[in-house]
Symmetry: C2
Subunit: 255 residues, 2 copies
């Protein structure tokens, strides 16, 4: 369980970083299945225009080890504690940044898409991002504006990021808004070893640059949504916006 100070920090910043939250053994078991996953030819495996694999969605459908990890007590209990109730998984994906690759993301709030494209009623969802590779200054770390979630939903313009071809649009925040938010709150880009975790609110503004390092940057995203906040009008495929609404319960690792 998170400490009251950690919960308070999450509520204040919309961001909570937990270095080495998962063990290297747990991460190693997940990474061992990644080469098989990214080589698959399935709609859940999203490619960039340049042919790089940039994301693997709905991992639990085709990976036993990722399916088990989805029920990890640390994931479920942390999400329950921060969201204040029972949860299901809205998205479960790896975002892959290739070495010296092109994938980047403009400033956006995830709740923009969850609401507009999936029909999520309220911003009662969060991401637990898990570093499957070490995240450094040079491999495209995610940059956040801490506290930006407290500004609520910010008007934005839907557009397709250059790097992504077959996934989705993003509701891009404009310069004026970002300038105001950064003046007030600054920017942070948490780095850390494999197994580190950055938890962020669905309204926390974030962006990232391409990976200029010669190594991969895989980050696993587990998006938890309150059972009572299940999506109503999904327009994206069910591997992008899950609609089975199965309440997740912690299961002690049997692997």
């Amino acid at each position: 369980m998170l400490t009251p100070q950690q919960v308070e920090q999450y509520e204040r910043d919309g961001l909570l970083v937990l270095p080495s939250f998962f063990s290297l053994e747990e991460i190693g078991a997940l990474m061992a299945d990644v080469p098989r996953i990214v080589a698959m030819d399935r709609p859940e495996i999203a490619k960039s225009a340049a042919g790089e694999t940039c994301a693997a969605l709905a991992l639990h459908r085709y990976s036993a080890v990722f399916d088990r990890f989805m029920h990890h007590p640390l994931l479920i209990e942390t999400a329950r504690q921060l969201l204040g109730g029972d949860i299901y998984c809205h998205q479960y994906k790896i975002v892959c940044k290739d070495p010296m690759g092109s994938l980047d993301f403009p400033w956006h709030q995830d709740f923009g898409n969850w609401h507009d494209l999936d029909g999520m009623p309220e911003p009662k969802a969060l991401n637990i991002s898990i570093y499957l590779d070490e995240v450094t200054e040079f491999n495209g770390p995610v940059a956040f504006i801490p506290g930006s979630h407290r500004h609520g939903r910010i008007p934005s313009l839907a557009e397709t990021p250059a790097g992504l071809v077959n996934t989705t649009t993003l509701a891009r925040l404009n310069r004026g808004v970002i300038e105001e938010l950064v003046n007030e709150h600054g920017i942070v880009a948490p780095k850390g070893p494999r197994g580190s975790v950055a938890i962020f609110h669905g309204l926390t503004a974030h962006a990232s640059t391409p990976n200029i390092s010669p190594w991969t940057r895989h980050i696993l995203y587990f998006t938890a949504n309150r059972m009572t906040n299940a999506i109503r009008k999904p327009t994206r495929p069910d591997y992008v916006a899950h609609r089975d609404f199965v309440q997740l319960e912690p299961e002690t690792e049997a692997a």
Copy 2:
């Protein structure tokens, strides 16, 4: 004059960082002319595909304040000391990264172009880069592989970076080479306030990501070349590869 330790560091790393080397007043005088410069419609003002001004070349031709600065004793004496003889200016440009813009650069050695496109005989040239804006983690700092210059000219592939339309190609270094160099030497991306300087050898590998901050990132590049190493077979316009070969002498600021 640089200390023997600073000269040694430059020779070892192909990189020397001098925080706040120029005063805020000197930088302020230069920056005051930048809005006029980037608004000009001249071949020296390079635009990106998106219409952003991404570079202003041969600044001394159309800016009195930049022309004077080109003769700054600190620039000339530093370049002379590190190159071991009299110099002229091969390039003199601002690279502008717009707020939340698209301009980035793949890994390359500048000497690749100086040799292949301009006919520079030997790598006896260096860049003095001067931060006209504060350079932070988030506005596209230049990342260097210290010590990479000691590997000499590395075979590479000429290509046009996505962000640049009317300037030039870059000799892009491939992943295998970068992985070896980074394993041996690491990567650094020097940040610093306005007026800071990063001096780097023509063979030092470097790259940079786009600016995700809401503010501009202007860096001034003064490329010094030994008089005895003047270019022989220029193929690029004279505002990209100067061919007047005027020996520079320090002039105490009269402005």
